[in-house]
């Protein structure tokens, strides 16, 4: 229901409201998140962003908004914004800068790039970006088409463990991607009369807390909307999330055991004959092999592994299998395990054998609106095949050759920086990523490696620990409300209209075009961000049929048609035949692509590399299973940490959680600063008692830095002091190169005292060459240093 005021302006894109100009558009981080919600921007007479409201007519968010969009003006107009290009004048880490013009900055970049081209090769330049921000097609294009390098990846994201393991599993099993169906593909949301959509009977919330994370273009409020329409929940999470408290079953699993649980549920569904015989018979390949593989994964065995009562595993499996439709909404813990891909294959098998594939209220096959597929691979074809073949990570055939990934392998890039093997990496371009505060595991190791490079550029909205530590040049980028842009992630196609300008910031697109024209003008036949958007809409989005003006000033968003059961109507395969886009034409429970590349074709699970059972000697020293990265309402990863903002008001300091029993045994009290430590390193956070946790589990936050404190080393905005990634290794990946153990380490906890806090992690890392340690498995020695063999 909408009010009179909004109805009156239903067809307007801009209008006046007293002294304010109101603009209807969409927003995509930064600042923000993984979603692109519909907003009404209120700008004042001076053109300054004063207020943000949700657009009640945008079907994606229906007028609602999270707190971070509501407080957006605080971040757009924050006094700590950097508004001019900066050139480093002191040493790296001293935080001393001189303001320069864009042309001077571009001169420096061009000179350095040409030096690298001359002295090394284009592939000695690597470009990295963060997750979620609307720079996901721009930065890859820069890397391939301006610098001429195939080495684009995320900011030292170990094992590419953010959606990419799940993507690779889905692409190989189904030839497509599947998501939980909350009616998001229809402009008429939740409309069971005029669309085929049906409310899921059961929603399995597997390893995510969507009301906080809004991950992967999935708005968490949709789950609550479905609950209000009768959906029942099963939640799989080490902690009692709010959604878990509203669930029929809460399976409190040990972090890192998702794959084992999925195998156990498959076992129950197959052995109790609860699977969808017709779907399995008609549309799947390899069911007998899957049945054989799941045979030993009894609820009793899985119960011991996962620390969940066997009867709950059985009951949850029955409830999921007996509901129709049922859907699974899954999250990052699947990826952030060495066993990521096989775990994702197991969960994909669950929705397959229960016949929930591409049906209303099930897990639907989703494609990008109007086939706009510009993403991590955008511009890769501008590289010669011999340059493409040099992409670092070629030792992982699934990634490099089978076409399941369009990024270089981050861990291998790190090793190449450290060792010069297979060739040197000498320049790093970091755009919208803050790896030593957030994404890179083993932050101290990354710190040491990146310090050794010849040239580092950081493009970001604020001065960050990463920029202070490494950048020779800092370019300030525009926020969403300061850019004209467009983006597709699944649906709909969205336009983003520029409504304000802060200082001398430029959009990601304009910075990239300016540089591209100097380095490879033939790849940049557009002069500004609008022309680039027009180019993409015309050439990469032909089914849309409009241009940028049409998109931002008329449509704002546009939904493509959607059909269920594409495999029945010849829309599943490129050749128009019925079935799926796989070699067998079926959903491959037995994954022939994996088989072809020499990997196990069936789902499986093994203990995490550090675990109570795999490394009992470590568990004696570090008696807690450590999981990290649970989301907060107040932050998007390392964003939103600026002082005097609502985010910091509501969430001033980093918090980690343990059970009351565990804390009492150690004599720790709620609200105390404590050290979390393991064989890799340590950091400090404030204890919050979480009575719902298993006594053996600790849960810590990620992404912390303190922009209100000293930026120069050794403090570096305090980022190492509270960085949980001091405790997490790099280069501990699955056999495919995918997956990394961010969420399943071991640790111990002890109180911070004056005595044990004399040398803070920031000092230890930046002044004493500390951390970045690993245990030499051959002799048990602690290895220190920037490069180590596993």
């Amino acid at each position: 229901m909408t009010s009179k005021y909004y109805e009156e302006h239903k067809d307007d894109v801009t209008w006046q409201d007293g002294d304010y100009t109101v603009t209807r558009t969409t927003t995509w981080s930064g600042p923000g998140c993984h979603d692109g919600c519909g907003v009404l921007y209120y700008t004042d007479k001076d053109g300054k962003l004063a207020k943000v409201e949700g657009d009640p007519y945008n079907p994606f968010n229906g007028g609602t908004l999270c707190m971070r969009c509501l407080e957006m003006p605080e971040f757009v107009n924050h006094p700590q914004r950097v508004t001019s290009p900066l050139k480093r004048v002191g040493e790296r880490g001293e935080n001393k800068w001189e303001e320069i013009s864009y042309d001077e900055a571009y001169d420096i970049v061009e000179e350095k790039v040409r030096e690298i081209w001359r002295d090394y090769a284009p592939e000695s330049i690597s470009c990295m970006m963060g997750t979620g921000r609307n720079a996901c097609w721009q930065v890859p294009y820069l890397c391939y088409s301006a610098f001429g390098s195939p080495n684009f990846c995320l900011g030292f994201l170990s094992g590419e463990s953010c959606f990419q393991p799940r993507s690779a599993a889905m692409a190989s099993m189904n030839g497509d991607f599947l998501i939980a169906d909350m009616s998001q593909q229809f402009e008429q949301r939740y409309d069971e009369e005029n669309t085929e959509w049906r409310t899921p009977e059961v929603i399995v919330i597997w390893g995510n807390n969507p009301v906080r994370s809004n991950s992967d273009n999935f708005y968490g409020g949709w789950v609550v909307d479905c609950m209000q329409r009768g959906s029942k929940l099963i939640t799989i999470d080490p902690s009692l999330t709010w959604l878990a408290s509203r669930s029929e079953y809460w399976l409190r699993l040990r972090p890192g055991t998702d794959g084992a649980l999925a195998l156990g549920m498959l076992h129950v569904i197959i052995e109790e004959d609860l699977y969808d015989h017709e779907f399995v018979e008609k549309w799947t390949y390899g069911f007998d092999e899957l049945r054989e593989r799941c045979k030993d994964w009894t609820p009793e065995k899985v119960s011991e592994i996962c620390w969940i009562p066997a009867e709950d595993i059985v009951a949850a499996a029955r409830m999921y299998a007996q509901a129709k439709p049922a859907t699974i909404q899954w999250g990052l813990p699947i990826d952030q395990a060495v066993w990521g891909i096989p775990s994702a294959m197991a969960i994909n098998a669950l929705w397959t054998i229960t016949g929930n594939v591409d049906i209303p209220g099930g897990n639907i096959i989703i494609r990008n609106a109007f086939d706009q597929n510009v993403s991590y691979n955008y511009g890769f074809n501008n590289l010669a095949p011999e340059v493409q073949a040099k992409r670092i990570g070629a030792e992982y055939p699934l990634m490099a050759k089978a076409g399941f990934s369009s990024t270089a392998h981050s861990d291998s890039i790190l090793k190449a920086i450290e060792t010069g093997d297979p060739y040197p990496i000498r320049m790093l371009w970091l755009q919208s990523t803050n790896p030593i505060a957030n994404m890179g595991s083993d932050a101290p190791r990354i710190y040491r490696a990146v310090k050794s490079l010849d040239f580092v550029v950081v493009v970001d909205m604020y001065m960050t620990p990463t920029a202070v530590a490494f950048a020779d040049l800092f370019l300030p980028c525009a926020m969403s409300c300061e850019r004209d842009s467009q983006r597709v992630w699944w649906v709909p196609l969205r336009g983003m209209k520029k409504v304000t300008q802060c200082g001398n910031v430029k959009s990601d697109e304009d910075i990239i075009i300016d540089l591209g024209k100097r380095l490879h003008p033939e790849n940049f036949p557009f002069d500004n961000e609008i022309e680039w958007a027009d180019n993409i809409l015309k050439n990469e989005t032909p089914a849309y049929g409009g241009d940028f003006d049409q998109l931002v000033n008329k449509d704002v968003w546009k939904y493509p048609e959607f059909h269920y059961r594409k495999y029945e109507i010849g829309e599943g395969r490129y050749d128009g035949q019925v079935g799926f886009n796989t070699p067998t034409g079926r959903v491959e429970l037995y994954n022939t692509t994996m088989m072809l590349w020499g990997y196990d074709p069936l789902p499986d699970w093994e203990e995490p590399t550090s675990s109570p059972y795999r490394t009992p000697e470590l568990f004696e020293k570090y008696p807690f299973v450590l999981t990290t990265g649970a989301r907060s309402f107040e932050f998007f990863h390392s964003e939103n940490r600026q002082p005097n903002t609502t985010s910091r008001e509501l969430h001033p300091m980093p918090k980690f959680e343990m059970s009351k029993n565990a804390a009492e045994k150690l004599g720790l009290e709620d609200g105390e600063w404590c050290w979390l430590e393991n064989q890799h390193g340590r950091c400090r956070q404030i204890l919050r008692i979480n009575p719902s946790l298993d006594d053996r589990v600790v849960r810590a936050e990620h992404g912390w830095w303190f922009p209100e404190t000293e930026g120069a080393e050794p403090n570096l905005f305090g980022t190492f002091d509270s960085n949980i990634n001091n405790l997490i290794p790099q280069c501990d990946n699955g056999v495919t190169g995918y997956g990394a153990p961010y969420k399943n380490q071991l640790c111990k906890v002890y109180k911070c005292t004056e005595e044990n806090s004399k040398v803070m992690p920031g000092y230890h890392v930046t002044r004493e060459d500390g951390y970045s340690k690993d245990i030499d498995e051959s002799n048990g020695d602690v290895k220190v240093g920037m490069s180590y063999e596993r």
Binding site: Y5, L65, V224
Partner: protein, 112 residues
């Protein structure tokens, strides 16, 4: 005509702070001040082994029932933005009737 009221169906309140922040922006109040404040109970294990975990947005004495917004034909800032659609605004009797259909609900009639 009776006073306007807020009905909060807190069975579905996720504790996301959207109402709180939308209201801070509407009232233009600074740090530590709220027109509506999200209270939390739990997570707490009940004697029967179930878990209690509830949030309840509580209007404060700064709440002006969005009188200015309502007069302009808009809706209340908190109700508009709630991602869980668990807040409702209207005449007190209507809100009380709506609340009677819910399992966990509260009706507030703030005095501006």
């Amino acid at each position: 005509m009776s006073a306007n009221a807020l009905m909060i169906d807190y069975e579905f309140c996720t504790g996301c702070h959207a109402c709180e922040v939308a209201c801070k922006k509407h009232l233009e109040v600074g740090e530590g001040q709220y027109g509506i404040h999200v209270l939390q109970d739990g997570p707490r294990e009940l004697p029967d082994g179930r878990w209690e975990y509830n949030f309840l947005p509580m209007p404060t004495s700064l709440c002006d029932m969005c009188a200015g917004r309502i007069a302009e034909g808009k809706d209340a800032a908190c109700v508009h933005h709630c991602p869980a659609h668990c807040m409702h605004y209207g005449p007190a009797e209507e809100m009380a009737a709506l609340a009677a259909e819910k399992t966990k609900s509260a009706v507030f009639v703030p005095v501006a």
